[in-house]
């Protein structure tokens, strides 16, 4: 009886392991639901260490969605942080963390992530896109238009229009300021002339 039970437990353990290998997302989800953030991070790490792949991108995307839906964005950021300790130059991880941070309005950290990512992959369009979003959130429309061009045509056009509007308003304001100063100076000169004591 004891031997049978031991075999059964061993079989379940093997099957569970096989299940994990086939569906890490479900495993991470179960860990999350059980409140085991550390386990979720470790399971994520195992996949991350296997190196870039489409399956990994899909997994990261699924995890990102799940963590958010459960109100555990902070846990997701910690998971990504732990994963990045193991793979500090992993562009995909850096982009995911930057993107999450942008959504959570943690712009300084997002900038750092994109900066690190750009050293590993200088031409990666995702990095430029992330920078474009940060520029847009920081109201730097000119930079946003430049960074988003070729990636997000509609967004680039929108920010280019706003930048042009700000520039032309600035020109009009300087013109108006010159007119105003000119008007007041003219009035002062006229008053000075009219009020000049007569020579007689």
């Amino acid at each position: 009886m004891t031997v049978r039970l031991a075999i059964l437990i061993a079989s379940v353990a093997v099957l569970s392991g096989h299940g994990f290998a086939q569906d890490p997302y479900q495993q991470i989800l179960r860990s999350l639901e059980a409140g085991k953030e550390g386990d979720a991070a470790n399971q994520l790490l195992r996949v991350i260490r296997a190196g870039p792949s489409d399956a990994r991108t899909v997994l990261l995307d699924q995890c990102y969605t799940s963590f958010r839906q459960r109100g555990t964005s902070a846990a997701w950021l910690r998971c990504l942080g732990q994963a990045l300790e193991a793979a500090p130059a992993d562009v995909e991880l850096l982009w995911f963390r930057a993107y999450t941070r942008i959504e959570l309005k943690l712009l300084a950290g997002a900038r750092d992530d994109l900066q690190t990512a750009s050293k590993a992959a200088p031409g990666d369009p995702r990095i430029r896109q992330g920078r474009g979003w940060i520029a847009a959130l920081s109201f730097d429309h000119r930079a946003a238009a430049r960074l988003l061009s070729g990636i997000d045509g509609k967004g680039a056009a929108y920010h280019a229009r706003l930048a042009a509007s700000l520039d032309s308003a600035r020109t009009r304001q300087i013109t108006g300021l010159i007119m105003g100063i000119g008007l007041v100076t003219g009035l002062v000169l006229a008053a000075w002339r009219i009020s000049r004591p007569s020579r007689s």
């Binding site: 309005k105 109201f139 700000l166 108006g176 105003g180 008007l183 009035l187 008053a191």
Partner: protein, 529 residues
């Protein structure tokens, strides 16, 4: 040489002219800031420009007025100067808007977070072009009247003293009248025209028996006509939208009402979404014509804006079915939050009190779909004063008060105020603040979080997706769970967005300041990067 004015009657006329022009200058100064508000706001920067330009113009007027008075000490000449000043002041009520539109960028580009430069320069330009010229001429009145009084036989000291005394008394009237009566009753445009009328009357007093009376009388009639015409004109017309954009985005479809209150310019307009066909009423204040301070969607209670995040908050009280939630909203506007909370939660909310400082905004609650019946109520007054005088505790205190679009009023963002809030919360209570902040690591959020942590052991933030809004949460219970637990199906999507943006309040780091009643630069912090 021209004969100077002599005799008691002339003294009376001179002093009357000084009084009327003193009143008019103050009316113009105070009302100028309000005329600029729908375009440039009513920030300290705008007020500084108005006061600065007025002082500069007055200084020039005093200087040259004195010289001119020595050269031509004739009351009738002063009368003609006053007529010119009145004529120069006439365009201001009508051109402020046109100039504002010309000087400012597309409203979409004019974010309140970064628009300081445009606001400062733009308001300076308008003030220089429209208000400096008449004020400079009005500055001449004091020295002129003094000199003419001396010519009537008064000593220099007595003449100067009387002139200053009566013009200051006039200014006193000119200070109180617009604030307590004119602006609210007749509007900014008519108030400025009344100031022009005062200058014409002052001129008439001096011109009584001379040339120019016909011109002055004609001007008075023209002012009356302009006032009637101006009353029918919109203050700030409907925002222009390209036809293509009307099909694809939210846009202002029409302005339904414009009100000038003692506090601000209030605009009620209808907005439409070209993509979905949805429409809603929006209430905007001052220059924030693309911002909103209350919303009433045409269908349902959900607004699709940050209000929905606050509508979730009764879900923080798991026992609300047995112990309904008592809510007070500080900064209630026209009652959007009251309508949403009551409409979505029904009996799970015991009472919703909304506090609004501007009575004319509060009075719009019916129009915005909230007709509170006891125990719900709309209270008019200052949020801090009303909370301090409350003899009860609340489960949920929501702070949604704004001044100048993005700044929480300074006295509502300090450690002293947060202590008052903690005293007014029940043991299960939660305090929620609506903060406009694009960056959680920015100076404003860091200061607010630091200040909150001085009082509350539990704090969290929830970023509202796709907006600048952040819900800042705090509780006096150190173990308080700040995750809303489901209940209302209509809020499922909102809850998902709320949870996605929910974080423990980030550590503010070194150097973040605690905001005190003595020092709370919230407006500057809101605009700092």
């Amino acid at each position: 040489m021209t004969q100077p004015a002599r005799g008691d009657a002339s003294r009376g006329a001179l002093l009357a002219a000084a009084t009327l022009s003193g009143a008019g200058v103050m009316v113009v100064e105070l009302t100028a800031a309000r005329a600029l508000a729908p375009w440039f706001g009513a920030s300290l920067y705008v007020w500084t420009n108005v006061i600065g330009v007025v002082l500069l113009a007055l200084a020039a007027g005093y200087w040259f007025g004195g010289r001119l008075a020595d050269r031509r000490p004739e009351p009738q000449f002063l009368g003609r100067i006053l007529l010119v000043a009145a004529a120069l002041s006439l365009p201001a009520p009508f051109l402020t808007g046109a100039l504002g539109q010309w000087l400012l960028p597309d409203p979409e580009a004019m974010s309140p977070f970064v628009a300081t430069d445009h606001v400062v320069t733009g308001s300076l330009v308008v003030t220089l072009l429209l208000f400096a010229p008449p004020i400079m001429l009005l500055g001449m009145v004091g020295p002129f009247v003094t000199r003419c009084l001396v010519d009537t036989g008064l000593s220099g000291g007595t003449a100067a003293g009387r002139t200053l005394a009566v013009s200051t008394l006039g200014s006193l009237g000119g200070t109180y009248l617009p604030a307590h009566f004119l602006i609210e009753e007749v509007g900014v445009r008519a108030t400025l025209l009344i100031a022009s009328g005062l200058f014409v009357v002052a001129a008439l007093v001096l011109l009584a028996r001379g040339r120019g009376t016909a011109v002055a009388t004609g001007m008075l009639l023209a002012i009356g006509g302009l006032a009637a015409w101006g009353a029918s004109m919109p203050i700030r017309p409907t925002l222009p939208t390209a036809d293509a954009d009307k099909q694809t985005s939210w846009h202002e479809a029409g302005v339904l009402e414009e009100i000038e209150t003692a506090y601000q310019y209030v605009r009620v307009s209808r907005w439409q979404d070209g993509r979905t066909g949805k429409s809603e009423l929006r209430l905007s204040l001052d220059e924030g014509v693309t911002e909103f301070h209350s919303i009433r969607p045409d269908d349902g209670y959900l607004t699709g804006k940050y209000y929905d995040h606050f509508a979730l908050l009764p879900e923080l009280f798991a026992d609300r079915a047995d112990k309904p939630v008592d809510v007070i909203v500080l900064g209630g506007g026209a009652g959007t939050m009251g309508r949403t909370l009551r409409g979505l939660h029904g009996d799970a909310v015991r009472r919703v009190l909304c506090v609004e400082i501007d009575p004319k905004v509060a009075a719009l609650h019916d129009r915005f779909g909230w007709s509170p019946s006891a125990p719900d109520a709309m209270l008019v007054g200052d949020a801090r004063v009303i909370l301090a005088s409350a003899d009860t505790r609340f489960d949920l205190i929501i702070l949604d008060a704004y001044a100048k679009q993005i700044a929480i009023p300074a006295h509502l963002g300090t450690v002293e105020f947060f202590r008052l809030v903690s005293q007014r919360l029940t043991s299960r209570g939660v305090f929620a603040i609506n903060v406009s902040a694009p960056d959680l690591g920015g100076p404003l959020m860091r200061a607010l979080i630091t200040t909150l942590k001085e009082v509350f052991p539990t704090t969290a933030v929830a970023c509202v997706p796709g907006s600048w809004n952040v819900v800042l949460l705090a509780a006096t219970d150190a173990e308080r769970d700040l995750q809303p637990k489901g209940g209302i199906e209509a809020l499922d999507d909102v809850r998902e967005g709320f949870l996605a943006g929910l974080l423990p309040a980030p550590e503010p780091g070194d150097g973040a300041q605690v905001l005190l009643d003595d020092r709370a630069p919230l407006e500057r912090l809101a605009r700092s990067r």
